[in-house]
């Protein structure tokens, strides 16, 4: 099986980290993955996008035009990328910033207040982990265990509280995602 993901938002929202940690988790599970970041010259506030392809087979092209899963963190990215998801794909949006996502036929739309949930678990920066939690809850693209390992690796040099908070965020996301499991 081959699945593609586009994470999009603005610089500072953890778009790139989300892509890398997801891809790393897939690799740790013995799958193949590619991760391609795309951004402008800005460090913060500019548009940020990354494409992740995960497959059981070696990946030929890392450049799909349309993705299976579009994850959008803000309105600007939503307007720019909303048509880049396949019919029958998943559109996952941050409802704190995107009020009225497209409900076109055949699209599974998941709208979740990830900014608010992130603040509840302790830090708005954890919003990206909640998004991945939702994906894990709703699909089987990577296992919870593999993603936890990926998070542990990412935060191994940070204060212990940071990892805890992100694991909390992940759990919240997975719980939410389970409601959308087909």
């Amino acid at each position: 099986m081959k699945q593609s993901f586009v994470f999009s938002g603005s610089g500072g929202q953890g778009i790139m980290s989300a892509g890398i940690t997801l891809a790393q988790a897939a690799i740790d599970m013995g799958k193949h993955a590619t991760y391609l970041p795309e951004y402008g010259p800005e460090q913060r506030g500019g548009s940020a996008k990354c494409t992740v392809v995960i497959s059981d087979e070696p990946i030929v092209s890392p450049l799909p035009r349309l993705c299976d899963n579009l994850i959008v963190m803000n309105e600007l990215a939503y307007k720019k990328f909303k048509d880049d998801v396949k019919d029958g794909g998943v559109l996952l949006v941050n409802s704190c910033r995107i009020s009225d996502p497209d409900r076109r036929d055949g699209l599974s739309v998941i709208s979740a207040p990830v900014d608010d949930i992130a603040l509840e678990v302790g830090n708005d920066k954890a919003a990206n982990v909640i998004l991945i939690g939702i994906l894990i809850g709703a699909t089987d693209i990577v296992s919870e265990e593999a993603f936890k390992l990926s998070l542990q690796e990412k935060f191994k040099n940070k204060k212990p509280g940071i990892l805890e908070m992100n694991l909390n965020a992940l759990a919240k996301g997975i719980e939410l995602g389970r409601h959308h499991r087909k």
Partner: protein, 361 residues
């Protein structure tokens, strides 16, 4: 054996260089290759090497020139605009018969262009890396793994030929993270320092070295150029590298390198499922160009060649045309300026050509 990592193409190139024995890097920042100097800034000191962020591209390539003269495996990297600035130094390296490796992680052009990926530097890399009519071997990997493998061996070619080696890879491959299997560290000793290196100046067995500020007599310069010409010819038979994919029964043959070859391959697989006989020739060395395989195609069967590149207009066209010799049409498809090729775009373009326009619109 086996040291697998999930790495960015740029970081993979940097690590492969270290493991190949590279112990000197000088460069000046430019997107989309900044991970190479960033990585080497901490990695080279770990292995006793030296990293310099030069004050400019010109200074950096000249530091590489100096390090190469000492017999040190030296590297610089940049992107299009910076490579243009290094042109003088690369030409001087070739003139002084010195090995070094130069990496171009290319972006949209011309001029400052864009920081997004493009394959717009083919002509610069293969025809005119500097003035004076010299060539460097040009390798064009299409994955992080192949970049590792080619960079790992690049100094062996450079030292064998006493000539710079060039790696051309677009910003897309430079920034993609994928799995790589890293080779072991080459342990180079004093005996491995080439016989001509300045560090061997007191060695009675020392091989010849050209002057570092070469001003030759006309006859000597002519002789050196003739020797270089013989070397370029030998590359065509000894060192040319390419990949053939589904070529045996192909009626249409895509020619694509680097990232364009991967997107093309995906499209070819889809076209094959629909019964279209499409194949691929992927140059891995852009110079020497894989002439023979294109020349020797069975043109009673091949109805068209399709040149797919992430640049407009296509730059490989003339090299292909010199082998096709008007025996079939040559089509082109590309994107440019930092707009990326994508699976559907290449598929639709190829379908339009191989179906003779039946699927057009």
């Amino acid at each position: 054996m086996g040291d697998k990592k999930f790495m960015k193409g740029n970081n993979a190139i940097a690590e492969a260089a270290v493991r190949a024995g590279c112990r000197f890097f000088a460069g000046y920042p430019i997107t989309p290759q900044n991970e190479i100097p960033e990585y080497l800034s901490w990695r080279l000191p770990e292995v006793g090497g030296a990293f310099v962020q030069g004050e400019s591209e010109v200074a950096s390539i000249n530091m590489v020139y100096g390090a190469a003269a000492m017999g040190t495996r030296a590297l610089t990297s940049s992107s299009g605009p910076g490579i243009s600035l290094k042109a003088e130094g690369i030409s001087y390296l070739a003139a002084a018969a010195l090995p070094a490796v130069i990496v171009n992680i290319s972006r949209g052009g011309p001029g400052l262009g864009s920081i997004q990926p493009a394959q717009s530097d083919y002509l610069q890399a293969t025809k005119a890396l500097g003035h004076g009519g010299f060539h460097a071997m040009v390798f064009a990997p299409n994955s992080a793994q192949e970049a590792v493998d080619l960079v790992y061996n690049a100094w062996d070619y450079a030292e064998r030929d006493r000539n710079p080696v060039f790696i051309l890879m677009d910003g897309c491959l430079g920034n993609i993270m994928e799995e790589v299997d890293l080779p072991p560290m080459k342990e180079l000793n004093d005996e491995d320092i080439p016989g001509w290196a300045l560090t061997r100046r007191n060695d009675p067995e020392r091989d010849w070295q050209l002057s570092l500020t070469p001003i030759y007599t006309e006859e000597m310069l002519e002789g050196l150029n003739a020797m270089a010409g013989e070397m370029y010819k030998s590359w065509e038979t000894e060192d040319v590298k390419y990949e053939e994919f589904m070529l045996d029964d192909a009626e249409y043959v895509v020619v694509a390198y680097g990232i364009a070859s991967r997107v093309s391959k995906e499209a070819i697989l889809k076209l094959r499922e629909q019964g279209y006989k499409v194949g691929l020739i992927r140059p891995i060395t852009l110079f020497p160009f894989p002439k023979k395989v294109i020349h020797d195609l069975d043109y009673s069967k091949v109805k068209g060649i399709i040149d797919v590149e992430m640049t407009l207009p296509a730059q490989m066209h003339d090299d292909i045309a010199l082998q096709v010799l008007e025996r079939c049409p040559i089509y082109e498809y590309g994107r440019s300026g930092g707009c990326l090729l994508d699976d559907d775009g290449v598929y639709e373009a190829l379908l339009d050509i191989v179906s003779g326009g039946e699927n057009n619109g």
